[in-house]
Amino acid sequence: MTGLIPHSWLNSVGIPPWVWNPLAISLHAACEATLIVAVVGITLGYILAKGHFPGRGAIETVLSLPMALPPTVVGYYLLTRMGGPGPIRTAELHLFGHPLTFTFTGIVIAQIVESFPYCLRFSRAAISNVDPRFEQAARAMGLSRWRTALLVTLPLARRGIVAGVAMAFGRTLGDFGATMIISGSVPMATTMPIALYNAVFFGSHEQAMVLAFVQLGVAFVILFGVTRLGKVRAW
């Protein structure tokens, strides 16, 4: 995303690189992480809501752990699993040719782990709350399980699902602890919260003020937009 808009143009409109670079990394990572979280989270939320198999509660609890853990703990485990010897590091080397710690992909993974529980739990709850008689009516009309899920269940659960995705997106944008540990604040993986931390740490209070205000504005605009998206075509 940093390459999409020329720096000369950003400078001409008054957006300095110390704002744009971390902002672009934050938005890019948040979009990638949220896309993956949404697809996997909604699918798994559906399976947990509709499936009847042993261990559902245990699976949901394990996948929700990052919600209750300090982000630094999540970051620590990711750093030691992804950075230390073991099968995960072997897989990283096999797939990417290098470890994913201190890389952009590393922070996307950290943000996926951090934000996934929000999407999963909101989706699971919203899908569970859909009146099953709507689905029964759809099945009686001849719709397959897949078409029932896509045309009936998910649209009826849409508001809860959108809320979950919005929460996940907000979590990815705001994550500091896990991202900081996994990225180590290297330039290509410095997100807005880390840039703000660096600005405060190095005494650049004006920069810190601007970075904080930009994050406030971005978070408000995106979450307001997502909330509106959940309300369109209300019935």
């Binding site: 008689r133 009516a137 759809a138 099945r139 009686a140 009309m141 849409r158 075509r233």
Partner: protein, 238 residues
């Protein structure tokens, strides 16, 4: 040929359903007090629940046979369902709600054309582009009836379709339901605990009490009370 043969048992907690009956063409009413097992029977016929023992045949085809562990899935039974509160999908237009049930043709426009025909037959064509949330209870049940029949089902099941409506609308819809179902030629099983409704709508009344069939009675109707079957396009059915 029977439109429906039911011979099932099902135990849920303390409640024990054990019923046997057959249904021919026309409207058969399962009549009895709340908790007698009428709606449970519909759920078993629809394949939404499985009986503990017994068989269910639709048009002489076995759809449930517990002894041989054979269950035809709900979507393959070719049934139409009309629920007490309509259960129209709130995020789809009235026309798309009905079109979703059309199975006999493919393509969105073709399905919508069939759906529009059915909306006309129940007097709801003017609501086609509206969302179900903007309709009254009676209007929603008209649409639900169209949806229940639009898929050319082998059997239509109506679970207390009028119980949530006021008395004036109920009277109006009783006439409509009887006319539309009989003219479609699709056998129907209707559940009600309203004796007047059972008499007015049913050709046969199957009395239920405490999970058992306690009696089967033919309803005498005037000669001109039964419309002749016709297909959705106005022609005669087979």
């Amino acid at each position: 040929m029977s439109a429906l043969d039911v011979n099932v048992t099902r135990k849920i907690g303390e409640f024990d359903l054990d019923v046997t009956f057959s249904v021919e063409s026309g409207i058969s009413v399962l009549f009895g007090p709340s908790g007698a097992g009428k709606s449970l029977t519909l759920a078993l016929i629809a394949g939404l629940l499985r009986p503990d023992t017994g068989t269910i045949l639709i048009n002489d085809s076995v759809v449930t046979d517990c002894a041989n562990d054979m269950y035809v899935s709900t979507q393959e039974r070719r049934i139409g369902m009309v629920f007490q509160d309509g259960l129209l999908l709130p995020h789809r237009s009235v026309l798309d709600n009905v079109a979703l049930a059309v199975r006999q043709t493919s393509g969105r426009q073709a399905r919508r054309a069939v759906a529009r025909t059915w909306l006309e037959r129940v007097g709801a064509e003017q609501f086609a582009d509206r969302r179900p949330g903007s309709l009254s209870g009676g209007q929603r049940q008209r649409v639900a009836l169209a949806r229940g029949l639009a898929g050319e089902p082998a059997l239509v099941l109506l679970d207390e379709p009028l119980s949530a409506l006021d008395s004036a609308v109920r009277r109006e819809l009783r006439t409509l339901i009887r006319e539309v179902i009989l003219s479609s030629g699709v056998p129907a099983v209707l559940v009600t605990h309203d004796g007047e409704e059972a008499e007015e709508l049913g050709d046969v009344v199957i009395a239920y009490n405490d999970g058992r069939v306690t009696g089967v009675r033919m309803v005498e109707l005037p000669e001109d009370a039964a419309p002749q079957p016709e297909s959705p396009d106005g022609g005669a059915s087979q």
